[in-house]
């Protein structure tokens, strides 16, 4: 039981950068801008964050560098898509490759050297709560920050006026505009902040969970794509998105734990096991919307149909209506 608790505390810690990045992507996409560069961005921010922390010897500078790397990337994406009207998907994809190669190229001097790490800090009193204490409150500051971020971002999006504006900008930019809101300014701000959070995930790895910079062996290539999928799975809701992040890392851990039972399955296979699951979840989330399912449901008796509709409505959360669409004043 104790060992399991320790493992689960490890899962929560390991999921922290994923959760923070998913929330960042959620903010950006809620405003209508998709940051498809997340995969390269996390790798690059892990490198810049580690380099900054190594050169100054101060962990916080590294975290700040990761955030700034992301924020600059966000500004670049907003500029190219909002101001220059280029495809967000195209620019995001190009940037994801560019950032990754930049990280590997510029990171060479920082390869395999020990650097500063974020140290653990158990919260007094809270850490003594049975079960929850060792699980949630014997972690480091980054993990505590993520708890606050999850709750604060949920509250911000769904229970504040600014959150209402944010959702309006992503759903109905024209009516937001007619109410006197500067749509593009909102998009610039949220994309920069959201991408900053995605960037922050980088040093969360290189200064804590996977401490150090090991070039292509750092093992961060792929995480950004997962983050993008979990954002969809999460229905652009920080609570559901965070749950997706924890679930994903838990499944990864489960894969590794099962390895001792399935010795004939190579470890590389179990490490990618979450990807088929990712496709399956996206399938469940989206299938209710397809033509053939709609047609098939129409033939079912009313009671059964109602149950299916309820299930699909629960699974399916439609994306912000103006996601990826540039805003034009008529």
């Amino acid at each position: 039981m104790n060992e399991f608790l320790t493992n689960m505390a490890g899962v929560i810690a390991a999921a922290t950068p994923v959760v923070v990045a998913v929330i960042g992507e959620t903010f950006s996409e809620r405003s209508g801008v998709i940051n498809l560069s997340a995969n390269g961005l996390i790798v690059l921010a892990a490198m810049t964050g580690f380099a900054a922390a190594y050169l100054t010897g101060i962990v916080w500078v590294g975290l700040l560098a990761g955030f700034l790397t992301g924020a600059i990337a966000g500004l670049l994406i907003s500029f190219s898509s909002i101001s220059l009207k280029q495809s967000q998907v195209a620019v995001g994809f190009i940037l994801s490759l560019l950032f990754r190669d930049l990280a590997y190229f510029l990171g060479t001097p920082f390869m395999v050297i020990p650097g500063p790490t974020v140290s653990g800090w158990a919260i007094p009193l809270l850490k003594d709560i049975p079960i929850l204490g060792p699980l949630l409150f014997d972690q480091n500051v980054l993990v505590y920050f993520s708890y606050i971020l999850i709750i604060a971002s949920y509250y911000w999006i769904f229970h504040t006026r600014q959150g209402l504006v944010l959702r309006g900008v992503g759903e109905q930019p024209i009516s937001a505009y007619s109410r006197g809101i500067d749509v593009n300014r909102q998009r610039y701000i949220y994309t920069a902040l959201g991408s900053g959070l995605i960037g922050l995930a980088g040093p969360m790895y290189s200064l804590s969970i996977k401490a150090g910079w090991n070039g292509t062996m750092t093992g961060l290539d792929g995480i950004g794509w997962i983050v993008l999928s979990i954002t969809i799975f999460g229905g652009w809701n920080p609570l559901r998105g965070s749950f997706g992040g924890y679930l994903f890392v838990f499944l990864q851990w489960l894969g590794l734990a099962l390895q001792s039972y399935w010795t004939n399955v190579p470890s590389q296979v179990l490490q990618v096991a979450p990807f088929p699951l990712m496709i399956l979840t996206l399938l469940f989330v989206n299938i209710g919307d397809t033509e053939w399912v709609t047609r098939m449901l129409a033939t079912l008796p009313r009671g059964v149909r109602g149950a299916f509709y309820k299930l699909f409505r629960f699974l399916r959360k439609p994306p912000p209506a103006s996601l990826g669409v540039p805003f034009e004043r008529e």
Binding site: L36, S80, S83, L84, K85, Q86, V89, A90, V91, F93, I94, L95, L97, L98, R100, D101, L102, Y104, F105, L106, T108, P109, G215, G222, W225, L228, S229, I232, N264, V265, P266, Q268, V269, Q271, V272, A273, F275, P276, M278, I279, L282, L283, N286, I287, G288, D289, T290, W292
Partner: protein, 352 residues
């Protein structure tokens, strides 16, 4: 006026190239390396000897094959990020066919052809899977493709470390190399095969022909340009988008087959060599025009080959080639955006 405009367009393209070179130079300066030395090393690394030029063409073949497929999916308005996995599946199926037939006593030509056909089948299956997930599952082709890429990688690794492992010890170096008799024959002294060159050129011609001179090509374009209008014209978009995936799968499968038959002669973990993603960059750079993809893919292939010299000559990482390639496409797009913005402003002024 139109001559003037063509000149302005040209100026913007050139400024995109210059911006990309300046950016790469800046990156090199940050890494405390001499930009001029790096550029000349890449250039010499790609063209200084006939062998190096031939090597650039060895890299050009899979890159242009992948781009051939991607031009079709882009024409239909699809983002086939899953191309990497489709290439891998092609390579896996080719390897499977070769393993099955290598001791059968059949003539090498038959075995090689079977390898190509199996590769095509593998590419089609993986592409169709992404297409079906999109049309029957509502999963965006971008995410379906990404997931399938990772699964294809896992499948490759499992085969290399499991059922197809080398006698003795399994390793990242791949499966047991095939007998030389079933390699694509190369020019003596070079790694380049005339057959793979022919395959690439024929593929380019076929794609050009399909898109420019057939009804199918016209309909693929109609679906990509205007989804709703296509439905009104009686074209079923999902049918043509699935077809577009299948066609792309054919070329992706061929890419994988060439990697096995003509380059590595075995299955290795990173068998796609990133040519799928690179092909996406090439296709975007040439605005999905297959004719222009031919020289651009050659330039990108030469950058890859030239980049190999960097760690040897200057002790800097060869990923610089990737930085050059992606920054070139990025600045092209940014400059294109600037150009459109300026032209629009001009039009508005002349209308007033």
């Amino acid at each position: 006026m139109s001559k003037n405009r063509a000149f302005i367009n040209f100026l913007f393209r050139i400024s995109g190239v210059i911006a990309a070179l300046l950016f790469t130079a800046l990156v090199l300066l940050i890494a405390k390396a001499n930009p001029w030395e790096a550029f000349s090393n890449i250039f010499l690394g790609a063209v200084s000897t006939p062998i190096k030029i031939a090597d650039s063409f060895v890299a050009w073949v899979p890159l242009i094959l992948a781009t051939c497929g991607l031009v079709i999916t882009f024409t239909t308005g699809l983002w086939n990020i899953g191309i990497e996995g489709q290439i891998s599946l092609g390579a896996i199926m080719t390897t499977w066919a070769l393993r099955l037939l290598q001791d059968s006593g059949l003539p090498p030509v038959v075995i090689i052809l079977a390898g190509f056909l199996a590769g095509i089948a593998g590419g089609i299956v993986w592409a169709l899977l992404a297409g079906m997930l999109k049309f029957y599952g509502g999963v965006s082709e971008i995410f379906a493709g990404l997931g399938l890429n990772f699964i294809a990688t896992a499948l490759t690794l499992w085969l290399i470390f499991g059922p197809w492992k080398r006698a003795g010890v399994a390793s990242m170096s791949g499966t047991e190399p095939f007998d030389m008799s079933i390699w694509l024959p190369t020019l003596t002294g070079y790694r380049l095969s005339i057959w793979s060159l022919i395959l690439a050129v024929v593929s380019v011609l076929i794609v050009y022909f399909i898109l420019k001179h057939t009804v199918v090509g016209l309909r693929l374009k109609a679906v990509g340009k205007n989804y709703k209008a296509a439905i009104q014209m009686g074209i079923s978009p999902s049918k043509y988008m699935l077809l577009s995936f299948v066609l792309c799968g054919v070329f992706a499968g061929l890419t994988g087959a060439v990697q096995v038959l003509g380059v590595y002669h075995r299955l290795i973990p990173s068998i796609s060599s990133g040519y799928g993603f690179l092909g996406l960059l090439v296709a975007m750079l040439v605005d999905y025009q297959i004719v222009w993809a031919v020289p651009m893919a050659l330039l990108f292939a030469a950058l890859n080959i030239g980049g190999i010299q960097l760690p040897i000559m200057m002790k800097i990482d060869s990923t610089l080639s990737g930085v050059m390639q992606s920054s070139l496409v990025l600045f092209f797009m940014l400059m294109d955006g600037v150009r459109k913005k300026i032209l629009k402003k001009e039009e508005e002024q002349s209308n007033e």
